[in-house]
């Protein structure tokens, strides 16, 4: 069992404009109203980088920044784990189009933004951190993989880690073969010890076999959870919003799942 403490939370999704603004919706005390994700480039970035930022960079920096502001923690001393099923999907689509016909002129910015760790690279520059950064993908299980990796870093390396998960839709024709419901990001700052800012304790285990996945109570939020790999973490945010002890199941791979217990601090 790995035990972590949540110190900061960030969220950006359709009708979920920040963790603070969405708490009551996730707690079930205010109805969820879907609306397009309010994407904006982070003021953490210099102007030149801000112009080059695609959707994943906007998502990652927005949720990361919200979590750090809440925790009042220095971004320079925090390790990072980024996880996404895709990457910059608009950019990947554009590059495939460019490469399909001559002349194959891929711009330098398009190319370096196409790497899976582009959001991590921009974050490290904006945050000024030299701490380790890991960029993961596990298809639909990308959130679970990110949480598991973060938990091992907190536990084994005694590190403070920010987990940043994000995904957004592909344009057609890739959307038809890999539909992703919306642009969504979430962040959790996780510490190895309880601090005066700790919001909750999380215990994480990987367990063999398929579990009964914890669903969202609201149908709209459940559609978001099941329609976006990064949003598989929503039940965790809902439990944090309710401020109650809870036990959750998040599916991982074919033959295992994560068992998660949450208790408010």
């Amino acid at each position: 069992m790995m035990r972590l403490y949540v110190e900061g939370i960030g969220l950006l999704g359709p009708g979920l404009d920040g963790w603070s603004a969405s708490r009551d919706v996730l707690a079930g005390t205010t109805p969820y109203v879907a609306a397009p994700t309010s994407l904006r480039a982070s003021d953490m970035l210099p102007a030149a980088e801000r112009r080059r930022a695609g959707v994943p960079i906007k998502l990652a920096l927005a949720v990361g920044q919200e979590a750090f502001l809440q925790a009042g923690r220095d971004t320079k001393t925090t390790s990072t784990v980024f996880t996404s099923s895709g990457g910059d999907n608009d950019n990947v689509h554009a590059i495939n189009g460019i490469l399909a016909t001559a002349p194959r002129e891929v711009s330098p910015t398009r190319f370096h933004n196409s790497v899976h760790n582009a959001a991590a690279g921009y974050w490290c520059i904006a945050a000024g951190t030299h701490e380790p950064s890991t960029s993961l993908c596990a298809y639909d299980a990308s959130f679970a993989a990110g949480l598991l990796e973060s938990a091992t870093q907190v536990t084994v390396d005694d590190a403070t880690v920010v987990l940043i998960a994000y995904d957004h839709p592909y344009p057609e024709p890739l959307n038809a073969v890999r539909p992703i419901a919306a642009a969504f990001g979430m962040a959790l700052i996780l510490t190895p010890r309880k601090t005066e800012k700790s919001l909750a304790t999380i215990e994480v285990d990987i367990v063999s076999g398929n579990g009964q996945e914890t669903a969202m109570r609201d149908a709209g939020l459940e559609a978001l959870r099941s329609g976006v790999p990064a949003a598989r973490g929503l039940p965790l945010l809902a439990a944090l919003a309710r401020g109650e002890a809870a036990q959750l199941c998040i599916a991982y791979l074919d033959d295992n799942h994560l068992d998660i217990r949450i208790a408010p601090c």
Binding site: L99, E131, S133, C137, P173, L174, S208
Partner: protein
């Protein structure tokens, strides 16, 4: 008070510690343009036979050299995994079949159980070539992708780890690390943590990257591709040569029965540059941190290292930055070389492939030099070797640095 949950719990231990418990390298294998299996790579290194050839790949019209695995066209995927058919997974399958790797992982599966072995893979572009080719055959009416296009099993970054886990029959924790050219070095760190926390008892780590148009035209747009075979650390170096390759390592915990001569993973160090997306920190700040952290995790000093396999991409900026960093940490007393003149830059597979080359140096008392390098850059003051050498090599360091400023150094070798 949280209720303890005991049913079917896989992980047990949390023994938080700072130094790395060395892991045993039980088996390794690699495949690249030098040949299939580790003996082929060793032989090519010894005879100074480079795998770089003028670029003939699909309809690419760039004047450059590539390091290609010719055997890939003939590979047939295992029938139950035919949906995974793409250049990257063909290379993965071909590599898994070398060096007795399948037998070794099967023995580990019998010993620990499939659920107790993790699969952590690095790749930068996975099966993107499949998508590049599919975009040439979109339905003229609907714009749809061809019906036989399998996104999850080819283009998606996780495709590689999914394929390897299925091919080996492993069901433990698994993911892909995709941080450009550091990807398959960083997977060693993931395995270390997963095993330390008790989530698994063994791990298959590795990496595969294969030729595609995205990287050839992408690196070309950045002005980073050489028209000649790449010349690492040469005063006249002018860019990379792109290659394709695969490598895998089986990691287990050391026990009382472990031979004192066993090959070990002694240390891993990770850092971020926080400088630029596609240019390394000019003073090698992130590289210095990664190397120092790897030495610290291994409980070793700079003089304990006998050979450094450099990242050495042969771009102006990488070699200058890495050279400064190595000089800062090691001075000019440790033999160094980049083997990319042989293999080309294997991108997401560079970390694992060069870790294996570094282990071959230990096993065979062999120091690879540097092919294509003619005149060393006088501004870089390290013991860079052009000619091959021999000698007792006990411990080696391997550097991998990627786009986005993602750095990872590994220390491998014998304990005593």
């Amino acid at each position: 008070m949280l209720e303890s949950y005991t049913t079917n719990i896989i992980n047990i231990v949390n023994d938080g510690h700072s130094n790395l418990q060395p892991l045993v390298i039980s088996r390794y294998t690699l495949a690249n343009s030098l040949g299939l299996g580790s003996a082929a790579t060793l032989e090519a290194l010894r005879t100074r036979r480079s795998g770089l050839t003028p670029c003939v790949f699909e309809d690419v019209d760039l004047e450059t050299y590539i390091a290609k695995v010719e055997a890939l066209d003939a590979v047939r995927m295992r029938p139950d995994l035919s949906a995974y058919d793409c250049r990257n997974n063909r290379l993965a399958q071909l590599c898994l079949e070398q060096d007795g790797f399948l037998a070794a992982t099967e023995a580990a599966r019998q010993k620990y159980g499939a659920a107790r072995i993790g699969v952590f893979m690095g790749t930068s572009t996975s099966g993107i070539l499949q998508t590049e080719l599919a975009y040439r055959h979109l339905d003229p009416q609907s714009g749809a992708l061809p019906a036989d296009f399998h996104y999850a099993e080819t283009q998606n970054s996780y495709s590689l780890a999914g394929f390897v886990a299925h091919y080996l029959g492993l069901t433990g924790p698994s993911f892909v690390v995709s941080s450009a050219c550091s990807s398959s070095a960083k997977v060693f760190a993931n395995a270390v943590r997963m095993m330390a926390v008790g989530v698994c008892d063994a791990a298959v780590v590795g990496g595969v990257d294969s030729l595609c148009l995205s990287t050839l035209y992408g690196f070309n747009s950045l002005g980073l591709v050489s028209r000649s075979p790449c010349r690492p650390y040469d005063a006249e170096r002018d860019g990379i040569s792109i290659g394709e390759g695969a490598g895998f390592v089986l990691l287990e915990r050391a026990t009382a029965a472990t031979s004192p001569e066993a090959m070990l993973l002694l240390g891993v160090g990770e850092s971020s540059d926080a400088h630029h997306m596609s240019t390394p920190h000019p003073e090698g700040l992130g590289a210095i941190m990664a190397m120092q952290r790897a030495l610290s995790a291994a409980g070793l000093q700079a003089h304990d290292i006998d050979y450094i396999n450099l990242h050495g991409t042969a771009t102006k900026s990488n070699d200058a930055s890495e050279g400064k960093a190595v000089a800062d940490v090691f001075g000019n007393k440790v033999a160094c070389s980049s083997t990319k003149g042989w293999t080309g830059h294997l991108l997401g597979a560079a970390g694992i492939s060069e870790a294996i080359i570094a282990m071959l140096a230990v096993e065979h008392g062999f120091i690879p030099g540097s092919v294509n390098t003619n005149r060393l850059d006088p501004a870089i003051v390290i013991d860079y070797r052009i000619e091959n050498g021999t000698g007792e090599i006990k411990r080696v360091l391997s550097n991998s640095f990627g786009f986005g400023g993602s750095n990872c150094s590994l220390v491998l070798g014998k304990k005593s």
